[in-house]
Symmetry: C2
Subunit: 377 residues, 2 copies
């Protein structure tokens, strides 16, 4: 903290109007609901300010109401679970309350640490010297055995993918148990690297029950993996933080379940949930659906999230935006023009559809290798 | 599994209509998205059925489309994180896809174990011999010191509350660090019990970062606590499972963040998320907002969730519905008529507003003690 006054987390809420209430009254309700959670008459005066949220502003804006409510950083107690609780825990259960933006105290962000690698570190991990986008292929579908998954991994690595990640649905199913599958895929990518002189990284999905995570991390490290895939909303945002901080690996964060928060009038804006919170918790790359794929994210939303992940934030590293969800390999050149070189492209189906996935990967890799920071938007 | 065919998880999805598509095509997209996640032409034939979701039915229903998609239980790999992923991971990112109901294979439910105590076990833990509702008071607001919180706990216990729980926002903040606060509150409740001959249980909030949870559980047990409060969506549903299964305590599950899933046309129905999933993961009581309080749950929704928590489900125990969010102590008699005796009433603000919280608790306790199963609806 700087000076004597503790820093405050300023949360920009949008609220549906409430009959018989006013923007200021609604904002005060939110401020109390998220902190003291008792009737206003029962709040000891000494707790107003240091504990109860403060309404910084509140006004009608077209059909909606807007409010900025600030919380003393000490309310979050330095912990991500409590931070989530104070931002959105109880008001999630009301109708039409959306977090549109958060102004974060730099000290709070820095205390969580953010990404360990970020875009530059991910490039280094993949042996990429120039500042260019990364290509990540995806191992799937579930149901294949470890041999076939490893064969596919080998082909993508030989074709020149920078990373080959597990599909987020590959867990520990009987068709390809975690340890066997990860050992085989890692070995296949290492062999392809040895043949090609490349540095492709295999990225296993370690999303797992709490009791199994440590074992899977150990198996992943023993297989030589220094990057992993995790779905933070499935296992808890703090689990991402623990892996990023304590396990000495880089983390690609998958948005599974995140869409539940992306209602137009309720939830948490993607720029806050995936952009700020995933990054603060330590995601080196944040996966989200690109425009024009299978998911209804438009280009403006994708660009906005891309910016959020790289904006200055408490001195922590940027996260690398990782665009997936149906990226067409043939259009990657176009998307580089849109997003620039700090971008990872997850290409799955479109490589599988090619008659020869290895050559299709090689073609894609050659597009990406021709694009460096000099032509960034 | 019974017989040779593995059981299937049947998920009832509602979908917004998609221009140029059909209910059957949309259902097939969901079935693929949640499993194979490759274009249909790239799915090896051998994986249709055992791996790819099967469209059991699909039809238009008024302005919406409905589909039942079934998944082989093996897709979930016996793990809650992957179960969440297959149910709703990627389709959460699409527009207007809601899980309305799930038909669960009994073996899958039983494999997770469900509640350890359920309503009867919770009553036993609180020393309640007759089959009647339980009264739970809430310790708050955050910002008070351990002494003041303990004083409040003592008064509620002396008044005859069956349980005194931490507010879900009490974590490890500097005003009342976890270990000091839990030790003091537990001791205060134990002393009140010794004076009154009662068995009130103090229920600390153990929602915590992954790295701190074990330490807090140990401190809670050392303080004599055998029930804890946890927010499963804040720390991951599997963390609830791990605590319920491995820590030898009963768990009250708090719905913080759950409302993000409760959009009318998108998300997961409360009966599935709080009713089935929290229960399967081991919640002995599931907290949710009562009708007529600060949250917009109506009576029909509350009754429906109350039923879901107690319906026959794979042979596991029921969870105890725990109604909070602004329950007026003076109306508890009415709510007992509505819900019956397998109900926990969380009463917070309305006790704090009383001029004498201890007598207000005593009054409430006397209402509840007069109502046993004989007058159940």
């Amino acid at each position: 903290m700087t000076g004597t006054a503790p820093e405050r987390i300023r949360v920009h809420y949008r609220s549906a109007p409430v009959a018989g209430s006013s923007p200021a009254a609604r904002a005060r309700e939110i401020a109390i609901e998220q902190t003291a959670e008792v009737p206003a008459s029962c709040i000891p005066a000494a707790l107003e300010g240091p504990v109860v949220g403060i309404v910084e502003s509140a006004e009608a804006d077209g059909p909606d109401w807007r409010a900025v409510v600030s919380y003393d950083v000490r309310v979050a107690g330095g912990e991500l679970p409590q931070l989530l609780t104070v931002l959105y825990g109880n008001v999630s259960l009301q109708i039409g309350v959306r977090i549109e933006r958060v102004d974060w105290p730099a000290e709070l962000v820095a205390s969580f640490g953010g990404p360990r690698l970020g875009p530059d570190g991910l490039r280094r991990a993949c042996g990429v010297a120039e500042r260019r986008p990364l290509v990540c292929a995806a191992l799937k579908p579930m149901g294949l055995d470890p041999e076939e998954l490893a064969r596919r991994a080998s082909r993508f690595a030989a074709g020149g993918a920078d990373l080959v990640k597990d599909d987020h649905g590959l867990a520990d199913q009987e068709w390809a148990p975690f340890e066997a599958r990860v050992a085989r895929s890692a070995a296949a990518v290492a062999e392809a690297n040895a043949r090609s002189g490349g540095s492709c990284r295999y990225v296993p999905n370690v999303t797992a029950p709490a009791s199994a995570l440590a074992r899977r991390m150990r198996a992943a490290r023993e297989a030589g993996c220094d990057l992993v895939l995790l779905s933070p909303l499935v296992v808890g945002l703090d689990t991402l933080h623990a892996v990023a901080r304590d396990e000495g690996v880089g983390v690609l964060a998958h948005p599974a379940l995140a869409g539940a928060f992306f209602g137009p009038g309720h939830g948490i804006a993607p720029e806050v949930l995936l952009g700020d919170l995933f990054r603060i918790a330590g995601a080196d790359a944040v996966i989200y659906p690109n425009a024009g794929g299978r998911f209804p994210f438009d280009e403006a939303a994708c660009v906005s999230l891309h910016r959020a992940l790289r904006r200055p934030l408490g001195g922590v590293l940027p996260s690398m935006p990782a665009l997936g969800g149906g990226v067409d390999a043939r259009r990657v050149g176009h998307w580089i023009d849109v997003y620039g070189s700090d971008t990872m492209f997850l290409v799955g189906g479109s490589l599988y559809e090619a008659s020869d996935p290895e050559s299709a990967t090689a073609e894609l890799a050659s597009v990406v290798r021709g694009r460096t920071a000099t032509n960034d938007p």
